[in-house]
Symmetry: C2
Amino acid sequence: MLRVLAGERVDPPPVWIMRQAGRYLPEYRAVRSKAKDFMHFCYTPDLAVEVTLQPLRRFDLDAAIIFSDILVVPDGLGRKVWFVEGEGPRLEPLLDGPLPALGDPGKVVGALGPVYEAIARVRAELDPKITLIGFAGGPWTVATYMIQGEGGDKDRCRRFAYQRPADMHAILEVLVEAAAQHLAAQIQAGANCLQIFESWSEGLPEPLFEQAILKPTQALVTRLRALGVTAPIIGFPRGAGALIGRYARETGVTALGVDTQTPAHFARREAPAGMPLQGNLDPQLLICGGEALAQETRRVVEDFRGSPHIFNLGHGITPQTPPENVAALVTALKGG
Amino acid sequence: MLRVLAGERVDPPPVWIMRQAGRYLPEYRAVRSKAKDFMHFCYTPDLAVEVTLQPLRRFDLDAAIIFSDILVVPDGLGRKVWFVEGEGPRLEPLLDGPLPALGDPGKVVGALGPVYEAIARVRAELDPKITLIGFAGGPWTVATYMIQGEGGDKDRCRRFAYQRPADMHAILEVLVEAAAQHLAAQIQAGANCLQIFESWSEGLPEPLFEQAILKPTQALVTRLRALGVTAPIIGFPRGAGALIGRYARETGVTALGVDTQTPAHFARREAPAGMPLQGNLDPQLLICGGEALAQETRRVVEDFRGSPHIFNLGHGITPQTPPENVAALVTALKGG
């Protein structure tokens, strides 16, 4: 995988799966049930190490991704973060009233020690040939949770950005520095590369995309390099549509994560020449399995053949996926 | 507006607003409360005519769009359609068991008489300078409601398409013919142009986009022309991202509806030379109003200046929009 991230075309392509340490695995659910809540789960290295390694025991994957969450960053900033079972994350929203103090990005690394401990332990236990990925949410994506206090539709966040541009800027600035510190600490702990999940890139008019996604991501990558991080950075602006070209060209990321609906030929045309691409099988096909999965897997490999390619889904794997379909996918990819 | 649809650049651009006859208007809510349910509302010409004309009385708009719903087509096919107050539409889903008989597209026009009566009456009452728009849902979009039995996320529909391609094809074939009959009858009743709302174009891998959106839309446009319809057709593949180019080039539509996140320069580059474009102000700005709205309105006009342009939103207007912001928008556009 690191060879691909360095610009080399490798056949068959290396493979990992977004959210590979997740609820579709019975052994994950068994560990999950031991933690009293989701944040506690993320912050208990014994548990995080175990679930990070689980998919590697089952499948011939080329990378592990540390089990954690994009909301550890606001939590590390001192914003209260909790999860409502069966619903999702909750934070104190920033929609009403003046902007409170957002916390000190310089303290995030101190607060997130268990994440780095888990990374160091995974790296020590993992086969040296397996790449270990550290990650953070993109500044805009994390900001949408902080602003709304939850996930869901992003209309209120766009209104916040239009009506309170200075506050929006202040939030993004804190998140850029916090994410940079957090990502740099993950590399120091032993991660080999990084992914920025800009999961809510869709629906923004170009000027807002520029202010809320392009510039903060550019600042984040620049800051990481200034902090001495030389590891490759995969940017994944899910749903950015026509705007992935600007993301690929202007943010400084090493590689581009491509979502399901974006054709490989389009990503290749829009990205700088030779940029490694990652993607983009429809996760729904991993639920279906069978000939539909096999056929689309072959097509994805063919479509990305002109670029250095890391095989992945175009979105995270879903809880209802049968693990045997993942096994079939990986076996098919490795020519088994 | 018809001049723009014929390829002429008009300054200032003509304007209408998706869902302009809608809940943001108090006079709409007053009429809506008279109908026992939403389908009854659609099928009562007195009410449909009244709400179609309401926004034209308030605002200096260049087009009216007949008040109706994309689900009158499955209803006209004999599928049961009802609305749950505060939630949305319901149909008997097609997910489980063998595909039932889907109804006879030849009978749709007979079943939807009240829609055509409303169109004829609106056309008679409307200033001849105002364009009257007829519409239908795109075949894939309507199919997603029929398959799931409701709106919401489209994952199940993609799985249906992967696992039951023959059934998917059969549904789309019926919907193409039914939509063609319905759209042709709207033109015969007095509509001046047509819009195809492919509201759920996002998230499809390219081969499925081709099967479920491109080919059915191409068949629909071809069928409309065979039925003698010469009126312009606006195709609006909302969320198609990188794939709007293929939609614009391959379906035969006259004009392209552009969603909020797709820049005008991208649509222009991807569409056939000189194709009229419609869009694409963020509806959230109409809630905000003020300087943010004014500034983005100017930007949208500037960005589309190189193409024949119909000003519109990039998505439907929302119920919480203050009508005075719509007035301010239209006044600003008309140079008032």
